[in-house]
């Protein structure tokens, strides 16, 4: 046999041998019967990279320790990666049993289109049941479609006002602003000596601009998903806030991380941000204060953001998976998680919990939950509305473009995306 053929055969053989020695087996649930007495292994994909990951790891460990018959393995990956793999993985039945598909709750509609989500039926107040009545209502509403619940909140966060006490003292301001006018005034007073009064981000961030609008009583869409961007209230509000940026009391064109850096560096006196930032700011040496978002014309409000945790429609263990969700949203887990991470609990019945109340960070962020609102809840094509319309709009007006003109354009684009028929 010619040498070349021998070599080719050897190569083929080695390729086959290589195919035989797989790495760790693909994480799939075992194929034994799914009675709850058998040991069950579940996989969970989340995107909780970054500083708060240990809190989630601890939660999963606590579950595994208290549930010897159900063991959950959490695989953490960047949100982008989950977004790339999960649709195909769930559609082909290869994916994890549980996952947080995206930090944006609107993502569920995409997975519903491909029937990838398991409707959650184990609800109630009993053991191993998900106590839906006592979970953050905005989140539950966002996760329910056609009367069926498809996810529970893995976390709920609100944005509050972080402020630099030292900079406030230097500017002679005794207390953080409590009304929207004070807010704008303080931002101007605090600016100077290389410091911005307010640090704000307009892209790659949890959205802060909607809060500014809400404080002035304006909004982005109405309940028919039609644009409110060119309404007089919005134009007035956006003009006022963008003027702050143009007059250099707030920076222009920052991403979330850059806005955080600015505050960390002590180069901004105020920032609207979530509980995850507190630890980092303290580590950076900031004399940190946390206050409620100043009250707007319609009272207190702030942005709530929630990450959905859903179950694959093709999971082999729907009972156990729902048990995990029930535990995750139960009082013990939420207390542990809140204390570990500073996030408010996702439950609404823990306001008088002693331990939580004594934790300043948790208490502050939790207090804002009842009046917090989601960004573009249930709006069709919300991701595109955010990236193509809203982010672009803010980018334009903060760089000097005429607000009336820019909002008119934005309205046309938005209505085209959401299918508004007005």
């Amino acid at each position: 046999m010619p040498k070349s053929l021998t070599i080719a055969a050897a190569l083929a053989a080695s390729a086959l041998a290589l195919a035989g020695c797989a790495g760790p087996a693909p994480s799939q649930p075992s194929t034994t019967s799914s009675s709850s007495q058998e040991k069950v292994a579940l996989t969970l994909w989340t995107g909780f990279t970054g500083g708060d990951r240990p809190a989630y790891d601890a939660l999963v460990k606590a579950f595994n320790d208290s549930h010897p018959d159900i063991q959950v393995t959490m695989e953490v990956q960047p949100w982008d990666t989950i977004g790339q793999k999960l649709p195909a993985a769930w559609a082909t039945g290869q994916g994890p049993d549980l996952a947080t598909p995206n930090f944006d709750p609107n993502i569920l509609s995409q997975y519903l289109k491909t029937n990838s989500l398991l409707p959650i039926t184990a609800t109630g107040t009993g053991e191993g049941q998900i106590d839906v009545e006592h979970l953050a209502p905005a989140a539950i509403k966002a996760f329910t479609q056609d009367g069926k619940l498809y996810a529970v909140p893995a976390n709920v966060a609100t944005l509050q006002l972080y402020y630099n006490k030292a900079l406030f003292a230097a500017a002679g301001i005794a207390a953080p602003p409590t009304t929207v006018d004070e807010f704008r005034a303080d931002a101007q007073k605090l600016t100077g000596n290389g410091v911005f009064g307010l640090s704000i981000a307009d892209h790659e961030t949890i959205q802060m601009w909607p809060i500014l609008q809400w404080l002035d009583g304006s909004d982005i869409v109405d309940q028919n998903n039609c644009s409110l961007l060119s309404s007089p209230e919005t134009v007035k509000s956006l003009s006022a806030w963008s003027k702050l940026v143009i007059d250099k009391f707030a920076p222009v064109g920052l991403s979330g991380a850059e806005s955080d850096s600015l505050f960390s560096a002590g180069k901004a006196a105020m920032q609207l941000n979530g509980p995850w930032a507190a630890a980092g700011y303290t580590k950076a040496g900031i004399d940190l204060g946390v206050a409620a978002v100043p009250a707007g014309v319609n009272g207190s409000t702030t942005l709530a953001s929630t990450v959905p945790m859903a179950i694959s429609a093709k999971t082999k263990y729907p009972v156990q998976a729902q048990e995990f969700l029930a535990w995750w949203t139960g009082k013990t887990a939420q207390r542990q998680f809140a204390l570990d991470s500073g996030f408010p609990p996702v439950r609404t019945d823990m306001a008088d919990d002693a331990k939580l109340a004594s934790n300043e960070v948790v208490a502050k962020f939790a207090a804002a939950l009842p009046t917090a609102r989601l960004y573009l809840p249930g709006v069709p094509s919300a991701t595109k509305v955010d990236s193509d319309v809203y982010v672009t709009l803010i980018g334009q007006i903060t760089r000097g473009e005429d607000v009336a003109k820019a909002t008119a354009e934005a309205t046309t684009k938005l209505n085209a995306l959401t299918g508004c028929s007005k």
Binding site: P2, L11, G83, A88, K113, S116, G253, D388, Q396
Partner: protein, 317 residues
């Protein structure tokens, strides 16, 4: 001496002493002659066909549907995605940005690459050390480079801003302002690849026989004329190779832009692959994304063909 041939041997040109044989025997002979080539090519070709060509064809298929990954049934749209593309202003914006990016990058890289290759031709220790330094960025991950430059250029905490302000200047938002953003990204791209271009052009320069220079000098040429009439024509194949590779690379730029600006600010650095990624993975429109990919592919094909034509190069040998 007996010629003992074990197995098929490469045929000498003109060894077609098979004309007298019937067609089937001829074909069989040709196949026997070709067989070693196919055996050598087999592993590579198999991988290319299975994991590159087939997926490319699949993605063309996706582009004819409103493709949602995992849907039970896909909706046929025929050329609908391509027509939508034609009307999409973000697509045209991205096309313009990508072309500007590619042309600027390639031209700058060729010029700077040539200049450094020509200046560092000597085999002295110093020249070799500088060449190594220039080449180093090539081996660093694009994501790392994007991240480091992003920090360096940050108007509030970056080194560049720090130094500018220390000298009494104003910090510039290189990546935050729409106008400097694209030139900045182009700069970083050139920064990364200049060393690689230099190495390729260096090889070309080293291959120019000394006699050519001598002959030209005897004719009284020197300096710039020498470069224009001897050097550049001699390295034309190398320039062409570098040009095509850099073009293909630049038109596909993604990682750098994604890490540094994600297409912003205000879409001023939004390249075609960036739009592709966003549409495919954030807006879940795989069909549309595939259409963009195919249009990009055709553009790159056209650009490469154009370069080949311009350099009057018919045979890549």
């Amino acid at each position: 001496m007996q010629q003992v041939s074990v197995g098929p041997v490469s045929s000498r040109p003109g060894a077609g002493g098979t004309h007298h044989l019937p067609a089937r025997r001829r074909a069989h002979r040709a196949w026997l002659r070709d067989r070693p080539a196919w055996l050598f090519a087999a592993p590579s070709l198999a991988i290319i066909l299975v994991f590159i060509v087939w997926p490319i064809i699949q993605s063309f298929r996706y582009s004819l549907y409103d493709w949602t990954v995992g849907a039970a049934e896909q909706q046929w749209v025929g050329l609908g995605n391509y027509i939508a593309l034609f009307h999409d202003e973000l697509f045209w914006n991205a096309l313009r940005i990508t072309v500007i990016f590619a042309v600027s990058s390639v031209v700058l890289q060729l010029i700077l690459g040539y200049a450094s290759a020509s200046a560092l031709q000597a085999e002295t220790w110093l020249a070799k050390a500088v060449r190594s330094i220039y080449f180093f960025p090539t081996i660093v991950a694009l994501a790392t480079i994007g991240m480091v430059w992003r920090f360096l250029l940050d108007p509030n905490i970056g080194l560049v801003a720090g130094i500018t302000v220390a000298f009494g200047g104003h910090a510039v938002g290189w990546l935050q302002d729409p106008d400097p953003a694209l030139p900045t990204v182009i700069f970083v791209n050139v920064w990364k690849n200049v060393g690689f271009t230099m190495v390729i052009l260096l090889a070309g320069l080293k291959g120019i026989p000394a006699q050519l220079y001598e002959a030209a000098r005897l004719d009284g040429a020197s300096g710039f004329r020498l470069t224009r009439h001897v050097t550049l024509p001699s390295i034309r194949p190398t320039l062409l190779l570098a040009g095509i590779m850099l073009t293909i690379n630049s038109m596909q730029v993604f990682d750098l832009v994604y890490v540094m600006t994600n297409g912003g600010p205000l879409n001023h650095t939004d390249t075609l692959v960036n739009v592709l990624y966003r549409e495919g993975f954030q807006n879940f429109r795989q069909g549309y994304a595939s259409a963009i990919a195919w249009v990009l592919f055709l553009i790159i094909l056209a650009a490469s063909a154009l370069q080949l034509k311009l350099m009057r190069y018919d045979d890549v040998d």
